[in-house]
């Protein structure tokens, strides 16, 4: 099972994501914003990063850009958790180097299906 970094400023969303993934046997680390996620990422070899877009301190887009600048995270899948009303955010995320996205709202099954899609 994979080491996954879950990044969201909303404790309920983060909790739901982490809980679902842990239930599927993954090892999940939680981070509250992009900056904290970067700090965590530097200290641990994560195989997948799931990140919200709108966050204080450092948003998801900036975080992806910073992560991609790290050698260890050049090819690691990073999925943006975004909402359907912001398709332009998907493109912005992609331009920053995100692998793909998961559209909010999603339920645990959709989350697991998407994670499986990336991790194989």
């Amino acid at each position: 099972m994979a080491k996954i970094l879950a990044v969201d400023d909303s404790a309920s969303m983060r909790g739901m994501v982490a809980f679902t993934l842990r239930g599927a046997g993954h090892e999940v680390t939680e981070a509250e914003n992009g900056q904290l996620a970067l700090d965590a990422a530097r200290g641990g070899a994560y195989e997948l990063v799931l990140a919200d877009v709108n966050m204080p301190v450092m948003d998801g887009i900036a975080m992806v850009r910073e992560l991609r600048a790290l050698d260890a995270y050049k090819g690691v899948p990073i999925l943006m958790l975004t909402t359907e009303s912001h398709t332009e955010k998907k493109m912005e995320g992609k331009a920053a180097g995100a692998t793909g996205w998961l559209v909010k709202p999603f339920d645990p099954e959709q989350l697991l299906a998407t994670v499986k899609r990336v991790l194989g």
Binding site: S12, T83, W101, V103
Partner: protein, 670 residues
Amino acid sequence: MGAVDLTQFHKTFFEESLEGLDAMEAALLALDSGATDAELVHTIFRAAHSIKGGAATFGFADVAAFTHVAESLLEEVRSERRGVDAELIDLLLRSVDCLRAMLDHTSRGKPAADADSEALRAELVRLVSGETPAAPVAAAPADVAASGWDIRFVALPHLLQTGNDPLRLFRELQQLGRLEVCRAFVLDSAPAQLAELDPGQCYLGWELRLHGAVARGDVAAVFDWVEGDCELAIEPTAAAPVATVTPAATAASESPAPAAPVAAAGPRPVRETAVASAEGSSIRVGIDKVDALINMMGELVITQSMLSDIGENFQLSQLERLREGLVQLERNTRELQESVMRIRMLPIGSVFNRFPRLVRDLERKLGKQVKLELHGEHTELDKTVLEKIGDPLVHLVRNAIDHGLETPEQRRAAGKPETGTLRLDAYHEGGNIVVQISDDGAGLNHAAIVGKAEQRGLIRPGQELDDTEVAELIFQPGFSTAAQATDLSGRGVGMDVVRRNVRDLGGSVGVRSQSGKGSVFTIALPLTLAIIDGLVTAVGQERYIVPLISIVESLRLRSDMVRKIAGGGEVFHFRDDYLPIMRLHRAFGCAAAVTEIERGIVVVIEEEGRRVGLLVDDLLGQQQAVVKSLEAHYQRVQGISGATILSDGSVALIVDVSGVVRLGQRRQAA
């Protein structure tokens, strides 16, 4: 998989959503007062966005629908397609109120939307240009090819650097139907020399054929994440068979997997779910406080092991070390206690934060101009005190604006700036937290107060009163009544209720006022309700604890200092004043106590300027007392606020100073 229970996250969602609304409101008010910081708009947007995302995820359709429209409006503001004016802020503030109510309803399992929320939502929809109802994005037309699809997929060199992998795409295609790799080729752009090859880049292209009746949308969905990272062409398979069939290096082979559609990435209809009612309250604790606690715990463990070391084979020569160890234990215990208490402490800012909005609403309603200043928002208070101090503060703020501050015209006439200042301060003073509400308004109107007090029979006509006594009148029960109260300050609640609420928290409230200059209301609150510093006194066989904070002085009286007064009361001379003596043994019915005043000790206690001398047998020492509720274990006793357990295991009662002072006053008056 379907068994993942999300209800456990509902409480967190409600909590963070209410916090988000608070932040939204504060930012809206900042914008209203002329701030132009882009971060404010981001904060507002982010709050709405998070609530919408969470509401949709957890199945609160009404909340999600409402925030969706609000968010669309905010998006226009954020992208500077719409300017911010007072009207917009008004509308958004009303939306904040509405969402609070909706969340409240939802958390109690009731339908969130009502006529008001729907009307407000309609108003928002009208404002949002070109907004259509939040309908799910229509699925792409089911363009099903009869026999399959020919796919030409050329990865751009940077594809791997987005974390995508052609192999993954092929695996997904295989899920849709039988996949055949017709041709794999190396791009011309690839370096000719192996040494020049960048392993982080991709130089390959493929021609694929997917067999079976698959919708074009499903095929395209496989590639949605790599749009822009590849050249892609999806064509229906031509009737004629393709000439070259060269299975290449990839793992694609015969595997007619059942067409399990990849999870659709569109919005799903949200479900109505029953909500568990919000249970026991929780507290958020900063990690630094928890760390401090763990630190203390570590030191306690060290002390404990040192002491048990001494105890193992104790010799008299180690007495000094034992003493040292006990001193250390005492220090550890006190520090640990303080750390634990700090966990219950929360900044008063969470209460202060509701005032900008309140002040704004009152300004409009009363036609006054008010500048609100908040100081000491970081001052921490016990959570219970914090929860209960909100209403009294709201009342004082309403009063200050309604009765204290004048209209701009009156202020101009008085030679003051048209905008009045209302200032909230919170700070530590001794063992207390002090909260002050000051205004630079007209001050208490003595004549009007005296007139009203006479009319209500609180004082005799013509009675001489000094400033303090006049100010005290407004706290008298019956001074303010619903009959004459204005819409704002009154509601049948007077200053006496404010005082009672504050007293219930173990605090006091007083006022200083200067005509034409303004008033200052001062609330003093205990740091915590759970522990008090007390003086242990002996009365017969009983032990009574007097809160240290209320003690003015302790003294032994000579019999010539005591005067008997009519009705059997006793007073003594103390600093130009005569104070009533209250014999605790008589008040609480203790046997075998000292009855001659000159043999006992008088402890002078003060409560809101009123002093009483308590006669006790002896003073035994100072001690911190953990307050145990008497009501919870026995019943309410007048003059006693609780009980505690002393170091020898016996029970001592804690004297309720305000109750005792009132008892003493009544005796004196009788």
